[in-house]
């Protein structure tokens, strides 16, 4: 019953997202100026002839009133027939299908790396003993904050210049999904997210580590490692899981920059190109896929959270508070 309601809620959210995206993008790009027929006729600044323009306008229903065009677009969106790209003359779904894998691989690896870094940092922080180690943890906290505010494009540029250009350890460009070529861009994406996750996880870990149940576990003879793995980490993971949904969105945003920087194919780059050429169907398609992907990821995070935390089951809406500002997804 509650599962069904939850599912319906998600579907409603998805439908709403689809409608809003289609509407916003459609009107935004139409308001942005530049006739779509230009995009179709070889891009901006085209000197296509009168006949060519007329022909294209008729073909793409651009001679219809704006409202009719909007309804047509809406109909296409609702039925998931996203239409053909203006500039590339290929079905939008095909273009997205070609690019989505690379972006997903990148974002997934980015998230994984972020988790690994955050976990290592957080566990190191709570396990640190002695004044030197404590001091190091203090520095680590600073590093987390700095990491979380490092712009992707700059971090990527530095990594490329140093790791690829200078040292030649890893390729500067990234064209496929091999680990070697994914590593640098994924790292670029991961570092700021790891900064956030690390802070959240460390806070959670420190709290859980001093909670009564952790003390109780110690009174049963559990060592620090055991308390960490069997008790604290799960608690620390909860806010981090909730945050991962947001993090994924941020990774997709970051992909726009990182894909351009590393010359990687992907949705982000597709989106930039499409926006620049005012390719309305393509922009709607990409934004839609990203937004729906985000809804899906949020749902997955929801489910995961419930798996880890039985207390949440049955509750329809968990209050998620991402650490703030960072809520820029």
């Amino acid at each position: 019953m509650s599962v069904l309601r939850w599912l319906l809620g998600r579907l409603a959210a998805a439908a709403l997202v689809a409608w809003v995206v289609a509407t916003v993008v459609f009107f935004a790009l139409r308001a942005a100026g530049g006739d779509p027929s230009e995009a179709i006729l070889g891009g901006p600044g085209s000197q296509a002839s009168e006949e060519a323009v007329a022909q294209v306008r008729a073909e793409y229903a651009l001679d219809q009133p704006l409202l009719v065009q909007y309804l047509l677009q809406l109909a296409r969106t609702v039925t998931f027939r996203l239409g053909d790209s203006y500039a590339r003359r290929r079905p939008v779904s095909e273009l997205i299908g070609d690019q989505i894998g690379g972006t997903l691989a990148l974002a997934a690896l980015g998230l994984l790396l972020a988790w690994v870094i955050a976990l290592v940092v957080a566990t190191a922080a709570v396990r640190a003993r002695g004044p030197v180690a404590r001091r190091a943890v203090g520095l680590l906290r600073g590093a987390e904050v700095v990491a979380s505010v490092t712009p992707h494009f700059w971090l990527g540029a530095v990594l490329i210049a140093v790791v690829a250009g200078g040292l030649g350890w890893l390729p500067a460009t990234s064209s496929d999904s091999s680990l070697r070529s994914l590593l640098l861009p994924a790292l670029t994406l991961a570092v700021p997210v790891a900064g956030f996750l690390g802070q959240v996880m460390r806070d959670g870990l420190e709290e859980a580590h001093t909670a009564p149940f952790a003390t109780t576990a110690r009174t049963r003879g559990a060592g620090e490692g055991s308390v960490l793995w069997r008790h604290s980490l799960r608690h620390a993971a909860l806010p981090a899981i909730a945050l991962s949904g947001w993090a994924f969105g941020s990774l997709l945003s970051g992909a726009v920059v990182v894909e351009t920087l590393f010359g990687r194919p992907g949705l982000g780059r597709l989106l930039i190109d499409a926006t620049h050429s005012r390719d309305v169907p393509l922009v709607i398609g990409v934004v839609l896929v990203i937004a729906l992907g985000y809804v899906v990821v949020m749902s997955v995070a929801d489910v995961l959270e419930r798996l880890v935390d039985p207390r949440l089951r049955g509750r329809l809406e968990a209050v998620r508070t991402a650490p703030h500002g960072e809520v820029v997804s």
Partner: protein
């Protein structure tokens, strides 16, 4: 500092080898269609050079050379052109190159369905194509066109297999079929285009240094928009050739012994066009004041570090008919101030800008972030700072390509005509580019609102000179007319010439890369990887 068609000189290179895959990383936008007939921009010319060839070529001195057409002849009245086609050439799909094929190509360019823009303008004056026999084709022109061969030498009018064209736009865009040294075998959007060697290659152009197919087995043509990344990729050996390097990279590369090819594009120079159709630049004195106070030389020197040299001509330095007059462009702030006073801009507001009738001396300068590299944008900032000293308020607005065209376009096309100065490069082979850029016809917008004459020069005498030059085929007379045209343009202070349209390539681990004498695109016919 550079070597045209240079071989790997400085760097301790290995032995040249046969075969192998060359990786080319381009910073130009990824074409949406690989057939340069459709639309027609530089990125298309760049890649299509590898698989499509034009009827004629051009050598370094600007002389038209035979290519797919071995010979040509023009009638007295300039209205009929007879071309002889090279024998025994076939397209890579086996279709023979014949007069019929040429006819199909010209008609393809002129078909509105093709949505050709650049190529369409180039063949605008061809009224009819008459296949005389298999090896001979005759063009009937609507009016004389002295620039016809130059137009036909560009990639935008390159000849494709009629069978390929017949497949329809979508298929032809994905893999055009030509006579070039390579064949398009795969296109993974946003990633690369794979080009395989044409084993039967026989139509060698003027740049080819040997008979037979290319040395390279394959070219991987990658799209790598970020200049810093391209440079890092070249350094780390991931790619062999990059284009559009930053001046920094060129300087570093030369020091490191990486081969640098400097191949300025033909046609116009990079210049700032001053919109003479409206205030403040409708007054020649204000235009001159702007030019005299811009003081671009130190900036070009610092920003380009010798990679680009200052131009004082409307035409590219590769154009034999280019005419320069440096004396017009010396910096003279005092004179600029005087001119502004004369023009009525004699008041100054609290921020130090000049004012006339309560209106500030504002110059709106939209900048295309896709077309102007970082160094050029920095140069604009310097011009902004320099002209400010005499009271100009230059407002620089970076825009994406669509918005930029939108700002330039005429109101008829939905644009705003929203600029006082702009830098819009134009690539075309030969001096006929002057007609496009400065003839009053060029102020008439296309349906999209686009027009090429962005200084909006409407000078009947200039028009007459240009019309005459377009008709006259005698090289000397033509040169004389074009010199006069350029003199008028420069003396009218319609433009502030900066430097040639920069077109640099850095190559590493490869030798024998040359550029075409037409639109300066690189060809890999003679290139070999060095082990």
């Amino acid at each position: 500092a550079c070597s045209d068609g240079g071989t790997g000189a400085g760097e301790a290179t290995g032995e040249p080898v046969e075969g192998g895959t060359l990786v080319y990383a381009t910073g130009d936008a990824e074409p949406t269609c690989l057939d340069p007939h459709v639309g027609g921009n530089y990125p298309q010319a760049l890649i299509s050079t590898q698989y499509l060839e034009p009827l004629v070529g051009r050598d370094a001195s600007g002389e038209i050379q035979p290519w797919l057409a071995t010979d040509w002849e023009v009638s007295e009245d300039g209205l009929t052109w007879d071309l002889t086609l090279a024998e025994g050439i076939t397209f890579t799909d086996g279709t023979p190159l014949d007069a019929e094929a040429v006819k199909v190509n010209i008609e393809h360019l002129q078909d509105p369905d093709t949505a050709s823009s650049t190529g369409y303008l180039a063949v605008e004056k061809i009224a009819e194509v008459e296949p005389v026999d298999a090896g001979h084709v005759r063009f009937h022109l609507s009016e004389p066109d002295s620039a016809l061969l130059e137009s036909l030498s560009t990639q935008w009018t390159a000849i494709q297999s009629p069978a390929g064209i017949a497949r329809g736009t979508d298929e032809n865009c994905a893999a055009p079929i030509g006579t070039g040294p390579f064949v398009v075998t795969e296109w993974v959007p946003q990633q690369h285009v794979l080009l395989e060697r044409n084993e039967d290659y026989a139509s060698h152009g003027p740049e080819a240094d040997h008979d037979g197919p290319a040395h390279l087995e394959r070219i991987e043509w990658r799209f790598l928009p970020d200049p810093a990344t391209r440079w890092a990729a070249l350094q780390s050996g991931e790619v062999h050739v990059i284009d559009n390097p930053e001046p920094e990279a060129v300087v570093t590369a030369e020091a490191a012994g990486i081969t640098h090819i400097d191949a300025p594009r033909p046609g116009s120079v990079n210049r700032i066009e001053l919109n003479s159709s409206q205030a403040p630049f409708d007054d020649v004195r204000v235009r001159q004041a702007f030019v005299l106070s811009a003081d671009v030389d130190p900036g070009i020197e610092a920003l380009y570090q010798g990679v680009a040299t200052r131009s004082h001509s409307p035409l590219s330095s590769v154009e034999p008919m280019a005419y320069s007059d440096p004396s017009l462009f010396v910096t003279d702030v005092a004179q600029a101030e005087r001119l502004l006073d004369e023009a009525g801009w004699d008041e100054v507001d609290d921020e130090g800008y000049r004012v006339r009738d309560g209106e500030r001396l504002t110059v709106r300068l939209p900048v295309s972030t896709n077309q102007s590299v970082a160094a050029e944008q920095a140069l604009f900032e310097q011009i902004q700072a320099n002209t400010r000293a005499v009271g100009f308020d230059v407002v620089i607005t970076p825009l994406d390509l669509s918005a930029w065209y939108g700002a330039l376009a005429a109101p008829e096309g939905g644009g705003e005509n929203d600029y006082d100065a702009v830098s819009a490069p134009y690539t075309k082979v030969g001096p006929d580019v002057l007609r496009i850029l400065y003839h009053s016809d060029g102020t008439v917008p296309a349906p999209s609102g686009y027009f090429a004459n962005l200084s909006q020069v409407t000078d009947p005498e200039l028009d007459a000179l240009l019309d005459e030059a377009a008709r006259i085929t005698d090289p000397d007379e033509r040169a004389e007319l074009y010199t006069e045209v350029q003199r008028r343009v420069l003396e009218g202070y319609y433009i502030l010439p900066l430097y040639d349209q920069q077109n640099h390539f850095l190559t590493r681990g490869v030798e024998g890369v040359t550029t075409l004498g037409t639109v300066s695109t690189p060809t890999f016919v003679g290139a070999r990887l060095t082990s």
